[in-house]
């Protein structure tokens, strides 16, 4: 059986296997497609069009796809088992162009050529990866490269990655992240012109699951209570050891750095090194008055505290802020709608790079929700106006003439996500024993938090109005923490101090959290 894949004009052909899903076979061939739910037949993101030899539509296909789509040969790759020669077209947006936030705007890059030595700081996010060249003389960021985390083919959130690892994909996941890092470092050095022999140290921050997958640790205990990690201490390894398989693969031409790699320490399974690094960069250990750090990603980690005491937690915000689980949702790629205004039932949209609209990214999701609530097209319980209830609210048209809509289900997804964040914040305040007025500063971290219109996030109730004036977007605080770790001598000690004063609050069985979670699901 021959499977032919056409993507963006390129064709590859491979020998199909009867006992594997199309998604698995595509992954093996290195054909990347997004599978937000991890191949569970729920998110519909892995859809491909089988223009010849289409499989019989299954239960999952019928649920996720319309009649017209089914007739045109659209199937979910995760539940399709091709039995005969087939040809498929992958039209999904190429997420390799994901716009990733690395630093913050005020940081200028300098020429790399004048430096006598370099270090490299890395942030491994569940969705994206940022790699930064740091000059040793002034500890400055000289150049940054970003990419998506190709483990996304195994699921959008950490839980689906953990599950994939437990189901025998551990080595494949490790291989995937090592390749992303290795290739990213090669690109960083090539683009900046920095000489490889001058690279001394590499510091990596990432959530605990990312760390486990990189080190090849078992994830068996990460997904079940009491959520015990294998190792979240500081880990060091030689570059050539960590990237041995990449170096072997590239043979003669391989990049060999005489560098030491350090994986920063985390706090718990669900509050990892990315957050401890974030707290380092927000100087939690030097603050007299409590401040709040919120990472608005899929895991919604947050930390509240000052130099003596810190409470940390994570709240399952889900992938809605990154466009996941939203009908027309997608990552921050060119053409994704990122700004919306609605007047008299008509929407005006702005897209990334001013490209023709192709879907909706996280900020677009927030803006749409805010506008619909403001225009009273969504009521306080989250119900969409009757006229739009069936088909969804139309936002824009794609080049092909399809209507990009925001549906009732999408509003519900955002209600779940925003109330998870808000309830997390409220529970932390309650446990810490402080009110809004006691908080000196709020830091919004993460690519999404960076671009979001704060007033609109407050408008839908994701954050309390009282904290609006104290909030700043800090971009990738994890990456900056990793850089500080390399450049400031006392950083390792400070990081240990932060870890020692941090305590985790577990939310899923917390009565107050559950109460807040229900309460804040409404719109005010």
């Amino acid at each position: 059986m021959e499977i032919k894949v056409i993507r963006e004009g390129k064709t590859i052909v491979f020998q199909g296997k009867e006992d594997e899903t199309l998604l698995d076979q595509l992954r093996e061939q290195g054909v990347y497609i997004s599978a937000a739910c991890g191949g569970g037949g729920r998110c519909g993101k892995c859809r491909v069009q089988m223009i010849q030899g289409a499989t019989e539509p299954g239960e999952e296909d019928v649920k996720c796809l319309g009649q017209e789509e089914l007739e045109a040969g659209w199937r979910l790759a995760c539940s399709a088992y091709p039995r005969e020669d087939c040809t498929l077209v992958i039209a999904s947006a190429d997420e390799s162009r994901f716009e990733v936030v690395a630093g913050s705007p005020e940081e200028e890059t300098r020429s790399a050529e004048t430096e006598s030595g370099y270090d490299i700081a890395i942030d491994i996010g569940t969705t994206t990866i940022a790699i930064e060249l740091v000059g040793r003389s002034r500890g400055q960021s000289l150049h940054t490269v970003t990419s998506i985390n190709h483990q996304r083919a195994y699921g959008a959130d950490v839980i689906s990655r953990i599950q994939a690892s437990n189901e025998g994909e551990k080595e494949a996941l490790q291989e995937s992240i090592c390749r992303d890092l290795y290739e990213g470092i090669c690109r960083l050095l090539a683009e900046s012109g920095a000489r490889p022999e001058l690279v001394g140290r590499i510091a990596i921050a990432g959530n605990t699951t990312m760390g486990h997958l990189l080190m090849g640790y078992s994830c068996e205990t990460l997904g079940v209570y009491p959520f015990t990690p294998v190792n979240i201490e500081t880990i060091t390894a030689a570059f050539e050891e960590m990237f041995a398989s990449q170096i072997k693969e590239h043979g003669e031409t391989a990049l060999k750095l005489n560098a030491q790699v350090t994986l920063l320490p985390g706090i718990t399974t669900y509050v990892g090194a990315d957050i401890s690094a974030g707290m380092l960069s927000c100087e939690f250990d030097r603050r007299e008055k409590p401040c709040l750090l919120i990472d608005l990603g899929t895991n919604g980690e947050m930390a509240l505290g000052s130099k003596d005491r810190i409470l940390v937690t994570s709240t399952a915000a889900g992938p809605a802020f990154e466009g996941g689980n939203i009908s027309w949702g997608m990552g921050s790629v060119p053409g994704a709608i990122c700004g919306v205004s609605v007047q008299n039932g008509n929407a005006q949209v702005e897209t990334i790079g001013n490209q023709p609209p192709v879907g909706l990214c996280g900020t677009g999701v927030i803006e749409t929700t805010y506008e619909l609530v403001k225009e009273e097209l969504v009521d306080e319980t989250g119900m969409l106006e009757e006229d739009y209830f069936e088909e969804g609210f139309p936002l824009a048209e794609t080049k092909k003439g399809e209507t990009i809509v925001f549906t009732q289900k999408d509003v519900r997804e955002i209600q779940l996500a925003k109330s998870a964040v808000r309830a997390g914040v409220e529970t932390l305040l309650l446990r810490f024993g402080v009110g809004y007025e006691d908080i000196s500063q709020v830091f919004l971290a993460g690519g999404f938090g960076y671009r979001v219109d704060l007033a609109k996030a407050v408008g839908i109730g994701m954050l309390p109005k009282e904290l609006e004036g104290k909030t700043t977007a800090v971009g990738n605080s994890s990456l900056r923490g990793a850089r500080l770790y390399l450049t400031q001598e006392d950083s390792p000690k400070r990081l240990q101090q932060i870890l020692a004063s941090s305590k985790e609050v577990e939310l899923s069985s917390d009565k107050d959290f559950n109460q807040f979670y229900t309460e804040y699901m409404f719109f005010e």
Binding site: G40, T381, Q415, S508
Partner: protein, 217 residues
């Protein structure tokens, strides 16, 4: 009766205090406690379930409504004890081992009690062994399991496997639910009932038990 209609409306609106007041009113007007259950609480729950299905209601409304309903069941329980009626059936329920999520499971508990089941709530992080032990101890008809994480879903399979290996599978109806659970998953582990939400769970549980009684009787 008008007051029963009002009870339905108050439950839908999540108004616990008003439900309490209306029930006292209904009793004064001569309704029997069981009439209030059959023509007030149960139709209210069915209506909430229907609205959730039609996407008119979302999680918070359902939670508020079920709180209001539980206020009703609590008040009525005193009176109902004086005129006992056989429970529809007995259920042991819990969130599976490794999982601490409670909200969804608590909703199912309230809904099941609403339609007249005797429910033993085993809480969260419940091991397969505990499910079995308690089901046997309470002579349950139904074992109901919830999981909110894809990583804890396999625990449900463990329970079914143990039932099979101990030749107890036919004695219990196995129900599963929770956000990541699908019909397909339920089938694959050999569960009997899967529903998407708490209200349907109560309705389907009742149906399954009635069907079973017909078959055996």
């Amino acid at each position: 009766m008008e007051v029963l209609e009002e009870i339905i409306a108050a439950i839908e609106a999540g108004k616990g205090k008003r439900v309490k007041w209306l029930i006292m009113q209904a009793l004064e007007e001569g309704c029997t406690p069981w009439e209030i259950v059959d023509f007030g609480l149960i139709p209210a729950m069915e209506s909430v379930t229907r609205k959730y299905h039609d996407e008119q209601f979302f999680v918070p409304e359902v939670i508020l409504a079920s709180h209001a309903m539980s206020v009703g069941t609590r008040i009525l329980s005193e009176y109902l004890q004086e005129q006992p009626r056989e429970p529809v059936g007995t259920v042991v329920i819990g969130t599976v081992k490794g999982d601490l999520h409670n909200i969804g499971k608590n909703l199912v508990v309230m809904m099941l009690r609403g339609v007249g089941f005797l429910v033993y709530d085993l809480g969260y992080d419940v091991s397969a062994e505990t499910f079995l032990k308690k089901a046997i101890e309470y002579e349950a008809d139904i074992i109901c399991m919830s999981a909110m994480l894809t990583t804890t879903m396999p625990q449900m399979q463990k329970v079914v496997e143990r039932l099979v290996s101990r030749r107890l599978r036919d004695r219990f109806i196995v129900m599963v639910g929770g956000a990541p659970v699908t019909e397909g998953f339920a089938k694959s582990i050999g569960a009997d009932i899967y529903t998407k939400d708490a209200g349907m769970a109560a309705i389907e549980a009742k149906k399954a038990l009635e069907y079973r009684k017909e078959q055996s009787g």
